[in-house]
């Protein structure tokens, strides 16, 4: 989807001079472009994507899915895109006295909203780099309206894959993580045998929620 930026409207601060018909039309067009260039609602996109792709994949019993792939220490994980809301640069986390523990770290402000923040290195038992790398990002994920934020060491990709082509999970990721993963996604491309452990959304979010009790 290319995003043609509408021509910037002439500075609104300069009033007085009456508009020519052409200018007025240009402004109107610019305004209409801006209106139309607004990001559509996610549900709307999803509905259309589903309806358009249905025809495409009918017959071929292929179920295409997409997951966000990220790195924690040496391990790669994948979380269904449907659960990822946004990605930000790292933010300061405020501890919640009496509540903060190894997994639940506190509150973080993302776009002015306060979100519970968890430590996935601990939850999934991944190695933590001695200091957060420059590639660190904070991911905001959500399931059933329950939002969570967590730092990842690197955000790699949004990977489309064939749901049938996943492998059974093996102990290629840390033991703690096995409990939260349900499949291995072959990543291909960069070297044979590289996989990301796909997080089972229900178990993953339940694991996060348990950190609060």
């Amino acid at each position: 989807m290319s995003e043609p930026r509408p021509p910037a409207a002439s500075a609104p601060a300069a009033p007085a001079a009456p508009l020519s018909a052409a200018e007025a039309e240009a402004r109107l067009r610019a305004a209409a472009d801006r209106l139309l260039a607004r990001a559509p609602a996610p549900a709307y996109l999803e509905a259309w994507a589903r309806s358009l792709t249905r025809a495409l994949f009918e017959g071929a019993a292929k179920e295409e899915r997409a997951a966000v792939v990220f790195r924690l220490g040496e391990d790669l994980y994948a979380l269904d895109v449907g659960h990822v809301r946004e990605v930000h640069r790292p933010r300061r986390v405020h501890r919640v006295p009496g509540r903060t523990n190894e997994v639940f770290r506190g509150l973080v402000s993302l776009r002015g909203e306060l979100v519970l923040c968890a430590d996935l290195h601990v939850l999934l038992g991944a190695d933590r780099p001695p200091r957060p790398p420059a590639t660190t990002r904070v991911v905001r994920a959500e399931k059933d309206g329950q939002g969570w934020a967590f730092d990842v060491d690197e955000l790699l990709d949004v990977r489309r894959y064939d749901a049938a082509a996943v492998a059974q999970p093996q102990v290629t990721v840390s033991k703690a993580a096995v409990h939260f993963t349900d499949a291995l996604l072959p990543l291909g491309g960069e070297g044979v045998g590289r996989h990301a452990a796909r997080l089972d959304a229900a178990r993953f979010f339940a694991g996060l929620a348990r950190s609060l009790t």
């Binding site: 405020h94 009496g98 002015g112």
Partner: protein
């Protein structure tokens, strides 16, 4: 009635409901006002329009029953408008009943409306007939003394009377008054601010985004400031070039470098000027952006505010009906309708205000004969007002009735064994009135004029406290009583002092702290491991904030001790923090519900720099501080205890565990006056710590408490090999058999309800369990 129409055309019905709500409000308030002033033409006109509008709206959604009732009401009002009839009390009653019926119809589930309405056909028909009689001036009496009786006594729904309502009959009975032309209506309508419904979540999110755009806009100013640094260094470059040129000129070498010098002279200067220009432009943009973001933010915040009058819809009616029921005469005056209040507070204030008004009518105002005998006007005055005062909202409910006699309260308090007669004798009037807010205080004795005064006033107090405010009573015997509720104007914005604790920012509501102190290290004194300082000659105990919050101690570079001084009742506490970070207006965000109630915290917010901050719950914190000091004192007490062992020998120690300060103090009072030694804990978890550290003859615990509830506490004690022999008494509001069973199953030795505090029986059952102190 309605045919087999499907009324679940949902959005349409929603619209009808919203419209009806507004008009019904007008009707209710207007009718009550009309009673005092039945010829008021403007009011009649307004009421007639309201009835007419409801009729139209009901017709659109196919609620024939409502159409008929509204139509009959309209006719009645039109007749009054034309001077054909005078609306006397019975007619007003009928109209009010009509309002009630329409209200109940508008709240019906559209899917089941046809059946539900068919079942009430007789009720509607009876009402329509009464209204028709009223509009002919034939209605001389209300069917029952209580105005709502007509509604209450409606025949039970019966499926056997379908389609009874007979439109032709109704039509025949209606006097031939043409409906007023609609055009007349549009003209006279006062222009009102239109409102739309926005979901609370959406509003909160808008506020978050507006806040964030303010943060971003401020970052822009910071970038403009960075350009200033660049501009200054280019300025220095210009000077350096000038110096170089001067030196070359004095050496006579300038001629060799004419071209290079010319370039060096012009270019840096242009860079500097351009930078200066850019910086100004950026600054202007930043300022505009900030201003705009600020206004947007302010506007969204303001959209949370509603006029106080919006909450009062049902009150005139309530006052009228209750007064009639009690056969009292009253004038109800309201002031400050236009005062703006946060919609959250306004919504939640309705029930407590309702309670205070009923209370004033029932217990404050005297019957007309008594008033006449006392030389007062027969009409009692009931006064409700709201205003902004000192950054708070002050709501007053005042009556000019008989007042509360402090001496009676004093007697009752002693009779109930709540405090000893000696202490009671020394209490001031204000302190005595505090007892009126205790749960269940003075419920029994109907003969005293105090009776019932206390019923539910604890609810009013809890509301005030939950909102971060307070309530007090003022009263003069024979002159009247005044309840003053002081509430925050908004729960969304809080003026707070920011401090650093354990390296992170925390906010204290300004209204909740007594002062901030910066003490020299030498000002601290220490006794038996506890630190204190002197404030106005009195020692104030000092604890470290990080210790109270169970956080690791933070670093301080300062040689001073930074103290937040809190006051609770007569007690002062000093809380040592690492730094003061200044004052800020915070937009309060509730803590994520998944966290539940977090000890010592009330809410969170986002700071101007975009970082999160936690807002301290000072009441909770004071409790934690008290506990921390208390545990310390317990240790000290034990040291001194050995000295006067003889004096203390045999006195039993009781642990009281309850999260309500009031209940703790009442229990402590009762037990102490009986001769027991008492320690307190604020919740199950604290209780568990205390019981393991002390030597208790009895544990008395509440059930519902944060962190660890009473059942869990009981279970733990009873499972501990050393502690299991300690008797446990559960004291709870819950009086159902299953609650009782649950407590006893956990191992409690007795289960009593809180209402039993008022009886001597409570202290007796303590004696039964553990023997005399």
């Amino acid at each position: 009635m309605t045919g087999g129409e499907d009324l679940s055309g949902f959005s349409l019905f929603e619209l009808f409901r919203a419209e009806a709500e507004a008009h019904l409000g007008t009707l209710e308030t207007g009718l009550v006002a009309l009673e005092a002033d039945p010829k008021n033409a403007t009011r009649l006109e307004e009421l007639m329009r309201a009835a007419h509008s409801i009729k139209g709206a009901a017709r659109i959604v196919g609620l024939d029953a409502a159409v008929k009732v509204a139509h009959a009401m309209e006719d009645c009002l039109v007749a009054a408008q034309k001077g054909k009839i005078m609306l006397a009390v019975p007619a007003i009653d009928a109209l009010l009943s009509g309002t009630d019926v329409l209200k109940s119809v508008s709240q019906i589930d559209p899917a089941v409306a046809p059946q539900a309405l068919a079942g009430r056909a007789e009720e509607f028909q009876a009402l329509v007939v009464r209204l028709q009689q009223a509009s002919r001036g034939e209605l001389l009496e209300s069917p029952a003394s209580a105005p709502q009786a007509a509604v209450v006594a409606a025949p039970p729904p019966s499926a056997s009377v379908p389609q009874v309502a007979a439109p032709p009959v109704a039509a025949a009975a209606v006097p031939a008054v043409p409906a007023p032309p609609t055009t007349a209506r549009a003209g006279g309508e006062a222009v009102e601010d239109q409102s739309v419904r926005v979901s609370a979540t959406s509003l909160t999110r808008m506020l978050a985004f507006a806040g964030e755009s303010l943060v971003e806009a401020r970052r822009l100013s910071a970038q403009a400031a960075a350009l200033e640094v660049l501009k200054r260094s280019s300025g220095r470059l210009v000077t350096a070039v000038e110096n170089l040129a001067d030196r070359l000129a004095s050496n006579g070498e300038a001629a060799k470098h004419t071209e290079a010098l010319a370039l060096l002279r012009t270019q840096p200067a242009r860079v500097r000027d351009k930078l200066s220009e850019q910086r100004e432009a950026l600054e202007t943009t930043a300022r505009r952006g900030e201003d705009l973001a600020d206004r947007l933010y302010g506007e969204i915040l303001a959209s949370r505010m509603r006029p106080f009058g919006d909450a009062l819809g049902g009150f005139p009616r309530l006052v009228r009906d209750v007064a009639r029921e009690l056969r009292k005469k009253t004038r109800f005056r309201v002031e400050g309708r236009e005062v703006l209040v946060d919609r959250d507070i306004l919504e939640r204030a309705e029930a407590p205000l309702n309670h205070l008004l009923r209370n004033a009518l029932d217990h404050g105002l005297e019957v007309p004969e008594a008033r006449a005998a006392a030389g007062k006007p027969v009409d009692g005055l009931l006064y409700l007002s709201a205003r902004h005062r000192g950054g708070m909202l002050e709501v007053v409910v005042e009556d000019d009735g008989r007042g509360v006699d402090p001496e009676r309260v004093r007697t009752r308090v002693v009779e109930r064994g709540m405090i000893g007669a000696d202490i009671a004798g020394s209490l001031s009037k204000a302190e005595l009135f505090e007892f009126l807010f205790l749960p269940g205080f003075s419920t029994r004795d109907q003969v005293t004029q105090l009776s019932g005064r206390g019923v539910g006033l604890d609810v009013v107090q809890r509301f005030a406290q939950e909102m971060g405010g307070s309530v007090r009573v003022e009263s003069e015997v024979g002159k009247g009583t005044r309840f003053v509720l002081v509430l925050p104007i908004t729960r969304s914005v809080l003026r707070a002092a920011l401090v650093e604790i354990s390296g992170e920012p925390f906010a204290f509501p300004l209204t909740r702290i007594e002062r901030l102190l910066r003490l020299e290290a030498g000002a601290l004194q220490s006794t038996e491991g506890r630190q204190h300082y002197l404030h106005e000659g009195q020692p104030v105990g000092l604890v470290s904030a990080s210790e109270v919050l169970s956080l690791p101690p933070g670093k301080t570079a300062s040689e001073h001790v930074h103290v937040v001084q809190l006051v609770s009742g007569n007690d002062r506490y000093g809380l040592a923090v690492e730094r003061f970070l200044g004052e800020q207006d915070l937009v309060v965000r509730p803590l994520d519900t998944r966290l539940g109630k977090v000890a010592n915290l009330s809410a969170a917010a986002v700071l101007e720099d975009g970082d999160p901050v936690l807002i301290v719950d000072t009441d909770d914190l004071v409790r934690s501080v008290d506990l921390l000091l208390h545990q310390g004192r317990m240790r000290t007490i034990r040291v001194t205890a050995r000295k006067d062992e003889a004096q203390r020998r045999g006195r039993k120690r009781v642990l009281v565990v309850d999260d309500s300060r009031t209940v703790r103090e009442v229990e402590r009072g009762l037990l102490t006056s009986r001769g027991y030694l008492v320690d307190v804990a604020v919740d199950g978890s604290d209780g568990w710590n205390a019981v393991r550290g002390g030597d208790y003859a009895l544990v008395i615990t509440d059930v519902d408490m944060p962190r660890m509830n009473g059942i869990e506490l009981t279970r733990r004690i009873k499972q501990d090999a050393h502690l299991r022999k300690i008797p446990i008494m559960i004291v709870s509001y819950k009086d159902r058999e299953e609650d009782r069973q649950r407590g006893l199953e956990a191992g409690a030795d007795a289960y009593v309800t809180k209402s039993s505090f008022q009886e001597a029986g409570w202290i007796d059952s303590v004696v039964d369990l553990v023997g005399e102190p």
